[in-house]
């Protein structure tokens, strides 16, 4: 057991810190063009797709270096590494594993150069986020698939150029998880219609996407027909430690402490209130545990273990933490809690992020069934 970093890793951390010091203004000073310039510099450093193999234009970084990069960026309140989160997280790794040479050539450079814009089509109406139940039908017709049905909760479908689309190509397959395929589909294909869904805070991220006789060439299929489940599950193997769950929470806790320092409770400084203090201490402890959980998982991955349900632990912790953290903020705000500030926004918006990766109850089911071996309900 050793939490120290190698000299090479320490040098890399220093490099990242220096880069940030040289290039990243504080959030309030970031102008309109900032992200464009910032991304150009990241592209130059090959820090977008940093852990992807060099042969595909990636940075060839190790998992630990990737962790260091993300940790420092998060601490500095930097924007995401790259402009196409969905594409970089899901599509790129899947392409590297399962793509044909043509597909790789077509899509990977754009991903790494911030010129792509992907959405992912998993959830469907009435079946929720369980991939095994997906119904969107793709019927082979000559060199095309013809797609009919609908996807829902499709984030950014209204601005994306492509959709990483999961379809059912064989409804008679033996298991619910076979018979699924992935099609890399341009959003401007005729027959695709997008209905916006506005969320609780008035933002338009989600959409429902309707497919009516949409024709996609067979060459757009990623991986073998009927092997879509494997393609999707493998896609995230690169980042399964759950570390990303904790870095965001660390930032969040710092803000919450700052709020507490500047708040009153019962006419006295809030930090004199034993309950407020212990709540903050409990959050800090839980978030420390999340960070360490992530590092333990990372170690397992480096040692070659296939990550399985580990991320569910940190996902569940985040789901359990976000609401009470926002809740403490609201209580520190007093009457202002009814206003429209950053914290009030979070207090509503967390409902979405909590659901995003599967609700806490879904994570509990995953742990109980896959780790503890309890029967399905």
């Amino acid at each position: 057991m050793d939490f120290d970093f190698t000299e090479k890793e320490q040098a890399f951390r220093a490099e990242v810190k220096q880069f940030i010091a040289d290039n990243l203004p504080p959030p309030e000073q970031r102008g309109e063009d900032f992200e464009k310039h910032w991304h150009a510099k990241l592209i130059e450093k090959k820090w977008i797709g940093f852990s992807w193999p060099k042969e595909y234009g990636g940075g060839g970084g190790t998992l630990i270096e990737q962790f260091i990069l993300k940790e420092e960026m998060s601490k500095a309140l930097a924007p995401d590494l790259g402009s196409d989160f969905m594409g970089l997280t899901w599509v790129g790794p899947a392409l590297i594993r399962h793509g044909t040479e043509e597909q790789k050539k077509e899509f990977l450079p754009d991903l790494l150069n911030c010129r792509s814009s992907w959405c992912t089509g998993y959830s469907e109406p009435d079946v929720g986020s369980d991939l095994g139940s997906l119904k969107l039908r793709a019927v082979r017709d000559g060199d095309d698939y013809v797609i009919n049905g609908s996807k829902i909760w499709t984030t950014r479908a209204h601005v994306a150029r492509y959709i990483f689309l999961t379809v059912r190509t064989n409804p008679e397959a033996q298991s619910r998880y076979s018979g699924i395929s992935v099609l890399l589909t341009p959003m401007n294909t005729p027959g695709i219609e997008v209905r916006p869904i506005v969320n609780i805070v008035g933002q338009h991220h989600f959409n429902q996407v309707f497919f009516t006789d949409v024709r996609v060439p067979v060459s757009a299929r990623l991986g073998a027909e009927g092997e879509g489940w494997k393609v999707v599950m493998g896609a995230l193997a690169n980042e399964r430690s759950g570390i990303s769950e904790s870095t965001g929470m660390e930032r969040h806790l710092e803000k919450l402490k700052e709020l507490a320092r500047n708040s009153q409770k019962g006419g006295k400084p809030a930090l004199q209130d034993a309950e407020v203090r212990r709540k903050l201490a409990r959050f800090e402890t839980q978030i420390s545990a999340m960070r360490l959980n992530g590092l333990r998982n990372l170690t397992k991955q480096i040692k070659g273990a296939q990550p399985s349900s580990e991320t569910s632990v940190n996902k569940l912790l985040r789901g359990i933490l976000e609401i009470p953290m926002a809740d403490l903020a609201m209580s520190l705000l007093g009457n202002e809690a009814s206003g429209m500030g950053e914290w009030q926004f979070d207090a509503l918006n967390f409902h979405g992020t909590v659901i995003g990766g599967g609700s806490p109850n879904i994570q509990r089911n995953i742990i109980a069934e896959r780790v503890l071996g309890l029967p399905k309900d």
Partner: protein
């Protein structure tokens, strides 16, 4: 000993519920919430005609002379339907005028508040957001036989709808140096701004007073009323919000139970899962407890005034904490659809957060309960 509603009260409830279901279903609530005024003057006129604006006020001014228990019946229903209106603000202001006003002041304002031609609200808090009379800072400078008020009042409910403000101010550092001024909207130096909040069915704003002259006859009760009178306004407000919160929780429970019955997964309704069932059972238990605590507090307000502050603190503490919890659980149990604007759950969730904060959250009131309970 009779801890139940009378037949008349049951009838009143049925009448209010039918009125709100017919006249202000949730589509209508959304429309009003999207508007500038924050309420519907036509419906407001109907409330007045039905006598509800004067429910607890004396018959000599056009009121019905009923009790706070009757009022609770109405407020449960306005909560349940998320009815957007300055009802709560006006009732509070009218109650305070009725209790503390001089004969002239009561005659001048109560008939107008009861017949709906005037809307009033209370302006308590200024700089410090701490809900005790001692935190009120706005100074009244003696002058011209009255006072001159300058400063800002925050968190004024229904500020933009009101044409009369009961403004709390002080003339010195003591608990006796607190008074309430009757300040009309059109008085010189008064300006009002809406504060945007997430729950647009409940409006709040900032009242700015720029050297507003308050004559002697505008001083409520013609005297500095002192801290206890101000504290009692907070109690009235806390009780009223708690009563509405019962309805809010009922709305959440109804919507979510129905969803749990309708929504199927793997061929059967998700309501069969204990992960869904148990949180819903807990919301039900909370509603039962909130009812018990609120009904008793409303009764005590008139029949056992000594016990009322503790009873109200308990009611509001419980309502604040558990209504907020019901809102969170309601959204979570709906999954993604609960997080959309188009589905109604979000309206209730936003109201649940308003219900928590307004007139003191659970920490504020539990601290009071501790004090009353000799802790």
């Amino acid at each position: 000993m009779d801890f139940g509603f009378s037949e008349e009260q049951d009838l009143l409830r049925a009448q209010v519920r039918k009125f709100l279901e017919d006249q202000c279903p949730l589509e209508q609530v959304r429309q009003i919430a999207a508007g500038d005024e924050g309420y519907c003057p036509r419906l407001w006129g109907q409330l007045a005609e039905l006598g509800w604006l004067g429910l607890t006020l004396p018959e000599e001014f056009g009121g019905l002379g009923l009790s706070w228990v009757d009022l609770v019946v109405i407020l449960e229903e306005t909560g349940r339907s998320l009815f957007p209106s300055p009802l709560l603000s006006t009732l509070l202001a009218a109650t305070v005028i009725d209790q503390h006003g001089t004969a002239e002041q009561r005659q001048r304002w109560l008939p107008a508040l009861i017949d709906g031609s005037s809307i009033a609200t209370v302006a308590l808090l200024d700089e410090q957001d701490y809900l005790v009379p001692q935190a009120i800072q706005l100074q009244g400078a003696a002058g011209d036989g009255g006072y001159r008020l300058s400063g800002e009042k925050r968190f004024v409910q229904d500020a933009t709808a009101a044409d009369l403000f009961l403004v709390a101010f002080r003339t010195g550092p003591g608990d006796d140096d607190l008074g309430l001024a009757l300040v009309p909207r059109q008085a010189q130096g008064v300006s009002v701004a809406d504060t945007e909040g997430w729950d647009r069915t409940k409006r709040s704003g900032v009242l700015t007073l720029d050297a507003v002259q308050v004559d002697a006859d505008q001083l409520l009760g013609a005297a500095m009323l002192g801290a206890p009178a101000i504290a009692s306004i907070i109690d009235y407000g806390a009780l009223a919000v708690s009563a509405e919160a019962i309805g809010v929780c009922e709305g959440i429970l109804n919507l979510t139970s129905q969803y749990a019955l309708d929504r199927e997964q793997f061929g059967s309704p998700i309501g069969r899962y204990q992960g869904v069932k148990h949180p819903l059972a807990e919301i039900y238990v909370d509603i039962e407890c909130m009812k018990s605590l609120v009904y008793y507090a409303a009764w005590a307000l008139e029949a056992q005034p000594d016990d009322a502050p503790a009873a109200i603190a308990k009611a509001k503490a419980y309502a604040a904490e558990r209504t907020c919890n019901a809102g969170v659980a309601g959204v979570q149990l709906h999954g993604a659809i609960g997080y959309t604007d188009e589905y109604d759950m979000q309206l209730f969730m936003k109201r649940s957060k308003w219900s928590r904060a307004t007139y003191g959250d659970e920490d504020f009131h539990y601290d009071r309960v501790a004090g009353y309970g000799g802790i």
